[in-house]
Amino acid sequence: MELTPRTGPDSEGGEASSAAPRKKRRVSFPALALLVAVIAIGGFVMVKALGSATTFYRNADEAVAERNELGVKRFRLQGTVVPGTVEQTGDGVTFEISYNGVPITIHHVGDPPEMFKESEAVLLEGHFDADGTNTYNSDLMIVKHSEVYKEKESERIKQAEVNGQVPVTTMRSGS
């Protein structure tokens, strides 16, 4: 609504009252079009983003099943690090992951994240090797962590050290 101070006596009361609703209608039209456009773009992005998110990664068994179609195409791969398979290489690390009992050998280039360890799930970005085997070359590793939280063992060790003078029999054992 127009609320600027009155400047001259030429504007009559009757004219002002008829101008107000006309102006209101004119302002709201392009703004409404803008709103519709924003919602449409937002909706489009949402559908696109969530659509691709549904196939965010392939599990190891699915990747092996689709080995021929995947070729050397880049995709995300998920599986659990098989214990005893982790070996350091010159430029990274090599290990095996498995999902539903299907293993894949991974050649990862780069330093693995701090939380990378055996029996934990990892998410990798890369592709199958060009030689046609089930070897996967990765250049990005993300550690998946679970929703389960547990007290760190070292905290209990620290407690035991602090209470070191206390006879072992009376020491509280961690639950």
Partner: protein, 253 residues
């Protein structure tokens, strides 16, 4: 504000006359104390996690922030429904205050989430369904606040904003369910109806996080509502002055 003008505005609406009150001052003090308790348990008394180490402590802020951002979105949706139905200005301002605080808590959720993701996952961000839908929620909240500020009459702005406000509920539902519906990097909820995957002092620290962040949320919503209400009063007063000016002119000519 003189009593004369207050009387000429809407004396029947018993809204706040100041941004502070005795009750909210006490609430503010309790909130500050609870934040102190959160710092004590979250950073000092609670143990490190077996897998994540010290990084787990971010959870005590991240999870409550996310939950309270959902609460803010629901508040906005409720306020929007009541506004569209009854044209209640009071509820429209509740919706607005809720959206502002929800936007802040969503930003806090995103920021703490990224800070947590880097040491645990190894990355700040991935475009998985949880993170993407949360980013959408942030945009929608900013959209609500922007639409409400577009130059137009109050009724027009409030109506548009209320319609955007209604969209917040499906978006919150998508964020919440994304980890169940799709494959995501983000883990599924630790606290659920079937039980908690967290025990002892860690669970208690999370609980103190919920209590203190909830108090912060309530305090902020009340104050943002009061500011918005008083802004409305000032606008209405300006309108009254403008009308009075025009009437005076009419009398002269």
């Amino acid at each position: 504000m003189t009593t004369e003008t207050v009387g000429s505005v809407e004396a029947s609406d018993s809204g706040p006359t100041s941004t502070g009150s005795r009750t909210t001052m006490i609430l503010g003090i309790i909130t500050l104390i609870s934040l102190g308790v959160l710092v004590l348990f979250g950073l000092i008394l609670s143990p490190a996690d077996a897998n994540q180490g010290e990084a787990v402590r971010i959870m005590y802020v991240h999870v409550p922030s996310a939950t309270l951002s959902y609460v803010g979105c629901f508040l906005t949706a409720i306020g929007s429904v009541v506004y569209l139905w009854r044209k209640s200005r009071w509820w429209e301002l509740v919706a607005y205050a809720g959206a502002e605080v929800a936007a802040l808590f969503t930003a806090l959720t995103l920021a703490t989430g990224m800070l947590w993701g880097r040491p645990t996952w190894g990355v700040f961000w991935v475009w998985d369904a949880r993170l993407t839908s949360e980013a959408m929620l942030m945009l929608l909240l900013l959209g609500y606040l922007a639409v409400r500020r577009l130059a137009a009459d109050y009724e027009v702005r409030a109506k548009r904003a209320a319609i955007v406000g209604l969209l917040l509920v499906p978006n919150v539902f998508i964020v919440r369910q994304s980890v169940q519906w799709w494959r995501t990097l983000h883990q599924t909820p630790t606290l659920s109806l079937s039980g908690a995957e967290i025990q002892g002092l860690m669970l208690f620290s999370l609980f103190t996080g919920f209590v203190s962040i909830t108090l912060v949320f309530i305090w902020m919503v009340i104050h943002r509502f009061r500011v918005a209400w008083l802004e409305e009063q000032v606008d209405a007063e300006g309108l009254d002055t403008a009308i009075a000016e025009r009437r005076a002119e009419g009398l002269v000519s």
